[in-house]
Symmetry: C2
């Protein structure tokens, strides 16, 4: 599952880390792939720069297997393929390679040991996000209830349609998750209502409230579910994992 949205700062990494952790806590064997050169998902799971010897960059360029570029995290059942700024070079280095958009999909064989693979995407619709969409069964869209974020949603949905037509017809929209929701903010509430009306059951009933503990957890190198399981943020991600599993079973 790709966690994607070209709008910046909408909660992609926070959702990828905490949903992956909550799924692992439910007993799933989960792999988190950090496909953002910023490496925030790796940092948020306590992977230091020294521990990022082999990264998803090496696996994409065929310099290592996915298994070699994967390591366990402090969360039982959750493994990660980390990233660092070198990954930014992959976009240029893969430009003249054949099937440059299928490099991640070609690694699917190595993902069989995991029940769920979550991919954290960078804030763009470039080659890295394209690789994630083509390699995934579904795409989860974290949506901040703000005007600029809403404006970008139609562009993202058009891109997903193009990927379905040109590369990967089986790609489906997993759903839209409203993030950083502030009940006191009139505009946010209005946007939530509009989105639920327009996209109906594509929108997860679980939404994630704005919760400062979610932004504190990364500085401790731990997911919010480990840092403070009782906070509103963690509870909403546990709820989100349950709803995700229900939707999977319901299919």
């Amino acid at each position: 599952m790709a966690v994607a949205n070209q709008k910046g700062g909408v909660g992609k990494t926070t959702t990828a880390i905490n949903l992956a952790t909550a799924l692992a806590a439910c007993g799933e064997r989960v792999l988190l792939i950090d496909l953002d050169p910023q490496g925030n998902a790796s940092t948020g799971l306590g992977i230091s720069n020294k521990q990022r010897g082999l990264t998803i960059y090496h696996a994409l360029l065929g310099q290592a297997t996915l298994a070699q570029a994967t390591q366990p995290t402090a969360v039982p059942g959750l493994h990660i393929s980390p990233s660092n700024p070198d990954l930014a070079a992959a976009e240029v280095e893969l430009i003249d390679q054949p099937q440059r958009e299928q490099r991640l999909a070609r690694l699917r064989g190595d993902m069989q040991n995991y029940q769920t693979v979550v991919i954290d995407c960078p804030p763009s619709l470039g080659l890295l996000t394209l690789n994630a969409l083509i390699a995934s069964d579904s795409v989860l869209i974290p949506l901040q209830a703000e005007f600029f974020a809403l404006e970008g949603l139609s562009q993202l949905l058009r891109t997903i349609e193009r990927v379905q037509k040109t590369y990967h017809p089986a790609l489906k929209l997993e759903g839209i998750v409203l993030t950083m929701l502030d009940r006191r903010n009139r505009i946010s509430m209005q946007i939530e209502q509009d989105v639920r009306q327009h996209f109906a059951d594509k929108v997860y009933s679980t939404s994630v409230p704005r919760n400062v503990r979610l932004s504190e957890a990364p500085s401790h190198g731990r997911p919010a579910l480990v840092y403070d399981v009782n906070c509103a943020g963690s509870q909403s991600y546990i709820q989100l994992a349950k709803e995700y599993l229900q939707r999977q079973r319901g299919q």
Copy 2:
């Protein structure tokens, strides 16, 4: 001046729009270049999709002059070169062009009529941001007082150094502006203190508080300074413009 930070959602567009508006209100002739395919700066200044016939994309690819790709905004003294999602294609189309990173710098001649040019950058360190850094005299870094945003700062500063060494020695760091500052948030306050200690006078004394009116203004297609000049957000951008002009004069 390039407004850049590869971390997403830190307030680049909000800063570019409102600082450009405040400078225009001080009597400066200002051009805002929207170099982000999301086109948020264009939307925030009320440019509809229909009005984006000629965009910065056309000027970068030499299909139009910068003057043809520029239009006035509702703010007196402020012009804009808008963008739309087509701009995302420029990164690939320019890949095998000579001096692809200098395309914007080559348009500097057409910018002479303006006293200040503000460039809103996308959340990445790719070809578009590289063009902005090489075309600019200085770079302004909006910094959200959050852990992931702080982590990306050193990577951004390294990129700026590389641009100074390889392409544009005269590029200077205009400064760091703390955005979305929440006085009630312990971590934010700690980060503000650390940044001010570490970067000293490179950090603007003006910081921008978290203020919901700033996120409401774009839905009305107007800068916050026009939508609600008395709100805390607008006042801080007016203050920021004054500090910018003082620092320019002090040089």
